[in-house]
Symmetry: C2
Subunit: 270 residues, 2 copies
């Protein structure tokens, strides 16, 4: 009986250690078999309607090099293009707002693939165009779905992608060259700090910026950049993702020394 | 005993059916858990050294929009860039050589994610710079590793990526504007036809083209394009992949009506 009690108390002690350590660390990611998953493309196509920041004077341009039958008798088409790094569905490298932050090509590839955490504030954003995600919203999400895992790709759903490519509806103002009167929802600084503390890899959003429209000091960009957290802007199709359980992959053009790049973002949904 | 024999013959008959059907259809893809896989980046960075086709007059250019501390006191960097669609690690949309083929943005996303089939001809290419993959090479690979599955992303390994970014070593000639004297290995037309018959989604290679250097009629491009099979050129790190069992993802910039685009290609290795 004494031995039994000793064994029991040792067992209880081990259970206590295991339980407390599982509470203080991020939960293991749920297994996801890519061979059976459905793929959702989170990327807007890039064309003359692609939305850029209002101060951007030169937007996307596609120039024909050749299109038609060659002298050897077969069809051949080829183009060149010019583009800002920042516009359409694209990545902000940490360097965009942090002088010592990672540039586009050196973002570790492991940080561009991770469990998708979808936080839906579309109801609140419908009532307040400039809504910013609060730390309380993040806590509420964790209460419902569990702690946000290390390396997560957070995708903030505001519902704004349904306004694309209507520039005025999407940005709140379509005056060329003027970014002083923009209105759209995004992350708030306190939520960004909490998410950075969780070890997230990417802050993504279905609006034009990880700071909201009226922001002038771009605190969320600066908080993310300083922590080598990548931004992902102008995503779409977040309504096709579950709050948790999907796996996101964000692949920017591998521009050496870039501050960002057009990116293709997808999610595997089990 | 009679019942046992009847049961046994029924069982043998079922085994026969199952065996023959598994021989005539592609094998099911091996499960791959992304949460546990290692990621290999198959992409060269894009910079002033990026290799383009010799006839390309305007190569990659990155122009500074802003880099430094703003008047509001925080660091900010942003660039614009111009690039040919075809150069560096990039995708050939079927439309590149097929007038009715898919353009870049409309390639189904499911065809850009698939089991990686790595065919290694580096020994043969080391002896013959213009080596082309033969139908026999494909059959030999299948004899060793099983039938190439529907939707496969084929990655032809010639060893040429170790020559990058030495243009002369990589293309066989670095005379500007002259593509008449190129030498490097790639796919041959018969192998391309066999792979298209297998239902592959992507033909990838670690050289500048899915046709070899001396090709003038670009038959592999035309065979692929006509079948809406995507090309993937100038990949790297194929030495880090197994012949079979990895999963590849190829994500081009989503250029509407494009003939191709810079792409990021990765592989999940179990």
């Amino acid at each position: 009986m004494t031995i039994f009690l000793r064994l029991y108390s040792t067992f209880a002690f081990i259970v206590l250690i295991v339980t407390s350590s599982s509470l203080s660390s991020a939960p293991a990611a749920q297994a996801l078999d890519v061979t059976k998953a459905t793929i959702v493309d989170l990327t807007h196509p890039i064309d003359a309607n692609t939305i850029y920041w209002p101060t951007e004077t030169k937007t996307f341009q596609l120039d024909e090099v050749h299109k038609g039958v060659t002298e050897r008798g077969f069809f051949y088409a080829s183009y060149r293009f010019c583009s800002p790094e920042h516009g359409g569905t694209h990545v902000d490298a940490p360097f965009h707002f942090a002088e010592r932050g990672q540039t586009t090509a050196v973002i570790p590839i492991d940080r561009l693939s991770g469990p998708a955490v979808v936080i839906d504030v579309s109801t609140k954003a419908a009532e307040d165009t400039d809504y910013t995600l609060s730390a309380q919203d993040v806590s509420d999400w964790e209460h419902a779905h569990g702690k946000i895992p290390d390396g997560a790709i957070v995708l903030l759903r505001t519902g704004w992608s349904s306004r694309w490519p209507n520039k005025r509806a999407y940005l709140g103002d379509d005056t060329p060259g003027d970014a002083s009167n923009l209105h759209f929802p995004s992350y708030g600084p306190e939520a960004a700090r909490l998410l950075v503390d969780r070890g997230v890899a990417v802050l993504g959003v279905d609006t034009a910026s990880i700071d909201n429209g009226p922001s002038k000091d771009f605190l969320v960009h600066r908080i993310a950049g300083a922590a080598n957290v990548v931004g992902l802007e102008n995503v779409t199709n977040l309504d096709q993702l579950p709050a948790t359980g999907a796996w996101a992959i964000v692949l920017p053009m591998k521009i050496a020394k870039g501050s960002g790049a057009p990116a293709r973002a997808i999610a595997f949904v089990p």
